[in-house]
Symmetry: C2
Subunit: 395 residues, 2 copies
C-alpha cells in the first residue's frame, strides 16, 4: 500500500446538542458491537419481530407494515414517496422548511405532479390553508412535516388529517425529529405513511429509518400500475423479508444497526413514552427560561416550538461559526447552524433523547455564556444558568 | 406499553461461513461502538477522507469519486444504475446468477432499455459472447458480475472491458463478494463503475456499499438530461458531502458504520492485499481438497471457482435444510442454501475475510462429516479433515 494506514478510530467525546445525531447511550453502543449473525439467522428474525413490535408502540399504531428501512431518515422519506406515488399522481407538499422542500423534490423525482403550499421558515400551516389547497388541487397524497428539523417548528397533524381524508387523499408525515420525544399517534391521527430516523429522539446512531404504513396505504401499493422505481426500497419485496410468514431474502439487512435500534427502543419503553415526552418538555422549558434570561430569542413562536429542537436567533454582531467552533473546541458541545434561508441567522440547539438532560441544559447555558462573552456580545441580559435552575427548582 | 419489553440483544456466537455477512473481528465491533459524533464534525470529515483513501486502495483505483454509500450492497447496485442510466438508455446485462438478474431488474426500473445475455448458473461468459452482444445491441452500458454470490463463479473482466470500451460503452461490475478477497483492479481493468458491500471479504457488518466511478462515468453523470430518480442515491449531491472542498450536508451518514468500515479497511492493509488474497486461495484449496476427499462435488468448474464462496452440490438423498439446521444448532456454523434455480441443490460455503481461516476450514469439514453421517449419507468417500491437513502440510 502506497499511503500509510490511518490511525484507529478514536473519536472525541462530544455532547451532541445539534439537530441530530444525538448522544447515544453506552449500552446502545454495546448492543451495536454484539457479534454479527446472519440476516436469515433465527435469532435475527426474532430480533426483527421485536424491533417491529417496539416500533409499532413508539408510532402508536397497529399497522402491520411497520419496519426499519436499511438507510437513514432520507431513505425513509424516499421509501414513502416511491412506493405510494406513480408517475402523474398529484401530490400536495406543505413546505415550511428544508425537509418540506426535500419532500417536494423527492415526490417530483418519483414522477409525481407536485403542488406546494408554503409558509415562512419557522411558521406552521393552519388547517384552513391546507383545506383550501386540497380542495383546489385534489391530490392523491398530502405530505407535511410534523417536526421541522430545519426550523424547530411543530405542526399539529390531527385536524389536517381529517381534511385530507375527507377529500379521499392519503396523509404522509415526516416525524424524523419528533418520534420518541413527542407524541406521534399514527392510528389516532389516522396517518397513512410516516418515516423517521434513529439518530434523533431514539438516540441510536444514524443508519436506519423507521417507517409505518396504514392498511389503506398498503392497498394503494398493492394496486399500483407500475413497478416501484427503486428496487432497494420496494416495499412489495422488503415487506416479505420482514414478514413473519415469508422471510424471503431481499437484501442483507444492517444486522448490527438493528441490534442498536433494538436496545434504543428498549430504553424508550424502560423509561415509558409519557415520562420521556415530559422529560423533553421539562428540559426544553428550562433551556427556554435560561435563554430568555440571557436575552437570546427563539426563531419560532412559543406555541409552535419543538421541545427537542430549539431554534434561536443568533444575537446581533455575534459570529455564527466562531461561537459554534468555540462550543465544539472548548466544551465538546455540538449545536447546529441554520439551514437554507436560516443559515447564519439561527442556531439549532437539540435536546434529543439521551442528550435531553438537566446536566446538558445547564452545561450548554454556562458554555454559551462563556462563548458570548468571548465574542464581546453585549446582549447577555442575565444569568441563563440561574434562570434554568430557578425553573427546575420551581417546576 | 401493552406488550412486555423484549430481552436485551444477546446473539449466539456463530461461525459465519455463508454467503455473507462474514465473521467480524472484535476490534471492528469495538470501532462500531466508539462514541457517535456529528456527521459534520471535523473528526468525522477526516475519517470520511481516510475511508475514501483506503477504499481507493482496495479498489486499486485513483478514482476521485470513491466512497461508501449509506445502504447495503444492493443500494450500491442501485446507485450505479440510477446515476448512469437515463430513461431510454440501452443497457446490456450479463446474467448468470441471481445478482445479474437483479441488475437487469434495477436497470429496467431506472428506465433503461435492457437486453440480457444469459449463461446457466455456475458458468461464466466468454469474451466472444459479450462481444457479439455488444456489437448487436450497441449499449450505453454493459453490466456484469465479477463474483456471483449466488453461484460461486468468477468472471474474468479485463478482456471484456476492452470489448466494451472499443464499442464506446461504459463497464459496470458487481464486486460485492470479491472486494478484499480477490484482486479487483478498477484502473488496470478500466472499469467505469463498481459497487461492493462491507459484509463479505471486508468483514465489516452490513450497512454500507463501497462504490467507485471513473472520470468518464462522472462525466456521463454530469451531462445527464434528467434528474436522478433517487434523491437518496443522487451522486451529484452525495459527492459534495464526501468532497474535501464542499462538505455540503446531504443526509446524515451512518457514523458508526463508517467507524466499523474504517477499522475493517485498516485490517485489510495491516495484512496487505496480496497476503490477504493468498490466504483466501490457500484456505479455498484446503477446503476443496477436503470436500473432494469426502466425495462432495463443486457446482462450478475448477477454473471458474471463487475462493471465498464455494458452491457445492448437495449429495444425493441428503436433506438440505436438515443439514444446515444441524450445522447451525449443533456447531453454530452458518452456511448458505442455494438461490434461484440452485435452491435445494447447492450449499454455499463462505470463506470470507475474518472467516477465511485454517481453523474454520477444519471445523467445517469435521462438522459436515458429523452432519452427513447423521443424515445417513453414504457419500462420504474419505476424511475431509485428513485431506485438508495434508494440503496445509504440503502446500
Amino acid at each position: 500500500m502506497a499511503a500509510s494506514i490511518p490511525q484507529p478510530v478514536d473519536p472525541p467525546r462530544r455532547v451532541l446538542m445539534g439537530p441530530g445525531p444525538s448522544d447515544v447511550a453506552p449500552h446502545v453502543l454495546a448492543a451495536l458491537a454484539a457479534p454479527t449473525v446472519g440476516h436469515l439467522d433465527p435469532y435475527f428474525l426474532t430480533l426483527m419481530d421485536e424491533v417491529q413490535g417496539m416500533l409499532r408502540e413508539v408510532f402508536q399504531t397497529k399497522n402491520k407494515m411497520t419496519l426499519a428501512v436499511s438507510g437513514t431518515g432520507s431513505a425513509g422519506m424516499e421509501t414513502c414517496f416511491v412506493n405510494l406515488i406513480e408517475p402523474g399522481d398529484k401530490v400536495l407538499v406543505c413546505v415550511n422548511g428544508v425537509f418540506g422542500g426535500r419532500m417536494s423534490d423527492v415526490a417530483a423525482r418519483c414522477g409525481g405532479e407536485v403542488m406546494t403550499i408554503e409558509r415562512p421558515f419557522g411558521e406552521v400551516f393552519t388547517t384552513d390553508e391546507v383545506a383550501t389547497a386540497v380542495k383546489e388541487y385534489n391530490p392523491k397524497l398530502v405530505a407535511i412535516v410534523h417536526a421541522e428539523t430545519s426550523t424547530g417548528a411543530l405542526q399539529p397533524i390531527e385536524e389536517i388529517s381529517k381534511i385530507v381524508h375527507d377529500a379521499g387523499a392519503l396523509l404522509l408525515i415526516d416525524c424524523v425529529t419528533s418520534l420518541g420525544g413527542l407524541p406521534v399517534e399514527i392510528d389516532r391521527w389516522n396517518v397513512d405513511a410516516a418515516y423517521s430516523g434513529t439518530q434523533k429522539c431514539l438516540s441510536c446512531p444514524p443508519g436506519l429509518a423507521p417507517v409505518t404504513f396504514s392498511d389503506r396505504a398498503v392497498e394503494v401499493m398493492e394496486t399500483r400500475n407500475s413497478k416501484v422505481a427503486s428496487w432497494y426500497l420496494d416495499m412489495s419485496m422488503v415487506r416479505n423479508y420482514w414478514s413473519d410468514q415469508s422471510r424471503a431474502y431481499h437484501h442483507t439487512a444492517p444486522i448490527n444497526m438493528n441490534y442498536g435500534l433494538h436496545q434504543a427502543l428498549r430504553d424508550v419503553f424502560d423509561e415509558g413514552l409519557e415520562t420521556r415526552f415530559a422529560r423533553h418538555t421539562r428540559n426544553h422549558l428550562a433551556l427556554s427560561a435560561g435563554l430568555e434570561a440571557m436575552g437570546v430569542k427563539f426563531a419560532v413562536a412559543k406555541e409552535h416550538r419543538l421541545p427537542m429542537l430549539n431554534a434561536v436567533l443568533i444575537p446581533d454582531g455575534v459570529d455564527d461559526k466562531a461561537v459554534r467552533s468555540q462550543l465544539l473546541n472548548d466544551f465538546g458541545i455540538e449545536i447546529g447552524g441554520g439551514l437554507g434561508p436560516m443559515a447564519g441567522k439561527t442556531w439549532r440547539i437539540g435536546l434529543m433523547g439521551e442528550a435531553c438532560t438537566q446536566r446538558n441544559v445547564l452545561l450548554f447555558l454556562a458554555a454559551l455564556e462563556n462563548c458570548l462573552l468571548a465574542a464581546g456580545c453585549s446582549a447577555i441580559a442575565g444569568s441563563g444558568v440561574g434562570a434554568a435552575n430557578e425553573f427546575y427548582r420551581s417546576a
